[in-house]
C-alpha cells in the first residue's frame, strides 16, 4: 500500500533488554514517508519501549534503526541532531513546569538556533492556533487541563518542524471527555502527511487514521495490516484474543 513512497524508518531485528528482562525480542518494520502506523497490544508487550528506541530514549541492545538513511543506533552519531527531526509526545505530557506555554514551545528552537526568538514566537503562536489554544500563550502548565496540556505538547514538538512524530499513549492519562480534542489534532496532523508512529489503546481512532496497524505481544510483532484487515479479520489467535478484550 505504500510501495510508491520512500522508506522513512527502517527497523531491523531490534532487540532491547532491561537486565534479564527481554522486552523487545526481534522487531523488524519499515515505515514509509507520510505513513501513519498505529501500534497496539497488551501492556508489557513492548510497544512503548519500541517507540522510545526510535529516538534513543532507550538504547537498543541489537539490530538497527535506520532513519533517513542514517543508522541511529550508531554511537558516534550526533543524537541531538537526529532528535531535532523526531517529535515525541508523552503519556504524561511532560510540559516544562517552570516555563509558560510560549516558552515551552520556543525553548528548543531558540536554544538550538533553528530560528530567531521572533520567528520562534510567530511559529509557536501559529501552532497554538492550530491546536486551538491561542489564548493560552501566557499560561503555565499547572493552569491547563490535561487535554490542553497534551495539545500544547504536540504543538511544542511541531515547533521543531520534525519529519516524524512519535506518540506514546497520548490519551491514556486524559479524562474521557478530553480524549477527542487531542485525537482531532492528531487526525489533522495525519491528514497533512506527517509520518507518525502512535502507540494507543483508542481502537476507533486507530481504525480511522491508521494506514497500518501493528499488533505487538511478548516483544514480537505478531501481526500487521490495514485497519480493516487487522481489526476486521485478524489471522492470529493472539490478536483475536486481544481484540475480543478491548473492542
Amino acid at each position: 500500500m505504500s510501495d510508491d513512497r520512500a522508506v522513512k524508518i527502517s527497523v531491523k531485528n531490534l532487540k532491547k533488554s532491561f537486565g534479564e528482562l527481554r522486552v523487545l525480542k526481534d522487531i523488524s518494520i519499515d515505515v514509509a514517508e507520510g505513513e501513519v502506523v498505529v501500534v497496539i497490544g497488551p501492556s508489557g508487550s513492548g510497544k512503548s519501549t519500541f517507540l522510545r528506541c526510535l529516538n534513543r530514549l532507550e538504547e537498543s541492545n541489537g539490530g538497527s534503526i535506520i532513519i533517513d538513511g542514517k543508522n541511529i543506533t550508531d554511537k558516534k552519531l550526533n543524537l541531538n541532531k537526529i532528535r531535532e527531526n523526531i517529535g515525541m509526545v508523552f503519556q504524561h505530557f511532560n510540559l516544562f513546569n517552570n516555563l509558560n506555554v510560549l516558552d515551552n514551545m520556543t525553548l528548543a528552537p531558540v536554544e538550538l538556533k533553528k530560528c530567531s526568538a521572533e520567528e520562534a514566537k510567530d511559529r509557536a503562536e501559529k501552532m497554538l492556533e492550530k491546536v486551538g489554544l491561542s489564548e493560552k500563550t501566557e499560561a503555565f502548565p499547572s493552569q491547563l487541563s490535561g487535554g490542553q496540556k497534551q495539545r500544547v505538547a504536540i504543538a511544542r514538538a511541531l515547533c521543531m518542524q520534525p519529519d516524524i512524530m512519535l506518540f506514546d499513549e497520548p490519551t491514556s492519562a486524559l479524562d474521557p471527555e478530553m480524549v477527542g480534542e487531542v485525537l482531532n489534532v492528531m487526525k489533522n496532523l495525519a491528514a497533512e502527511g506527517m509520518t507518525m508512529v502512535i502507540v494507543t489503546h483508542e481502537m476507533g481512532f486507530a481504525r480511522e487514521v491508521a494506514d497500518r496497524i501493528i499488533f505487538m505481544d511478548g516483544g514480537y510483532i505478531i501481526e500487521e495490516g490495514t485497519p480493516d484487515e487487522l481489526l476486521g479479520n485478524p489471522k492470529e489467535q493472539r490478536t483475536r484474543d486481544f481484540l475480543d478484550k478491548v473492542l
Partner: protein
C-alpha cells in the same frame, strides 16, 4: 549586664561581623562544592557517582571539630613535616573557611542531588526528545524546578552553617564565641555574657530565616 554591653558591646559586635564573614565565605565555597558534587552524583557515570558518594560519606562521618583540627594543624604538619620541604601555614580564617565549606558542601551536595532527583524524569526526557543537550536540559528545565524544592533545605543548611562557625572558636578564630570567652574571663559574668551572645545569634538567625521565607514566597509565584 549593662556594663558588659557598654564596655564589651563593640567588641562583641565586631566579633559577630567576623562570624558573618566566616559564614558567608564558607557558604560561598560550600555552594560551589555542593553544586559540583551534587551534579556529579546525578549524571549517568558510575565513577562520578561513587566519587561524590565517598566525599559525602567521609565528611558526614567526621565531626566538624575533628575536621577543623585536621585542616588547621594536620594539613600543614603533613606538608611541612611528613613530606617535608614546605613551609605552609594556614590562618584560622583560611582553615575555618575550608572546614565550613567542606562540611556544608557535603550536605548541600545531598540537598542538590535530592532536589534534582525530585524533578520528574519526564522533564529531562521531553527536553532531550526535542534535541536539547543534557547540559542545556539540566540548566533550562531541570535545575530551575529543582531549585524551588531545594530552597527551604538550603536555607536550613545556611542557618546550621552559621551556628557551626562557633565550633571554629577551637582553632582560635576570633568569632563570637571565642571573643565571648575572653569577655567572660575578664568580667566573670558568665550568665550575662552568654545570654547576650545567645540573643545576638538569635537575632541574626531570625532575620535570616524571615528573609528566607520572603524569597521562598517570591520564587513560588507563577507555580
Amino acid at each position: 549586664m549593662y556594663r558588659i554591653i557598654t564596655v564589651y558591646g563593640g567588641m562583641l559586635l565586631e566579633a559577630m561581623g567576623r562570624t558573618l564573614i566566616l559564614a558567608l565565605l564558607g557558604l560561598f565555597f560550600a555552594c560551589i562544592i555542593g553544586l559540583f558534587f551534587g551534579i556529579l552524583s546525578v549524571i549517568k557515570n558510575r565513577v562520578c557517582n561513587v566519587i561524590s558518594q565517598i566525599f559525602v560519606d567521609v565528611i558526614r562521618g567526621v565531626p566538624m571539630i575533628v575536621l577543623a583540627f585536621f585542616i588547621y594543624f594536620g594539613v600543614p604538619y603533613f606538608f611541612n613535616t611528613i613530606i617535608g620541604g614546605y613551609n605552609m601555614t594556614l590562618s584560622a580564617l583560611q582553615a575555618g573557611t575550608a572546614c565550613l565549606a567542606l562540611n556544608c558542601g557535603a550536605y548541600m551536595s545531598e540537598i542538590i542531588r535530592a532536589g534534582i532527583q525530585s524533578v520528574d524524569v519526564g522533564q529531562m526526557e521531553a527536553a532531550r526528545s526535542l534535541g536539547l543537550s543534557y547540559a542545556t536540559s539540566m540548566r533550562k528545565v531541570v535545575l530551575p524546578q529543582a531549585i524551588r524544592t531545594m530552597i527551604p533545605s538550603i536555607i536550613n543548611q545556611f542557618i546550621i552553617t552559621l551556628k557551626d562557625t562557633s565550633i571554629l572558636s577551637v582553632i582560635g578564630f576570633p568569632e563570637l564565641v571565642n571573643t565571648a570567652k575572653n569577655v567572660q574571663a575578664n568580667t566573670f559574668m558568665a550568665f550575662q555574657t552568654w545570654a547576650i551572645v545567645g540573643v545576638m545569634y538569635l537575632c541574626v538567625i531570625t532575620i535570616l530565616s524571615r528573609s528566607a521565607k520572603v524569597v521562598e514566597r517570591r520564587l513560588n509565584v507563577g507555580r
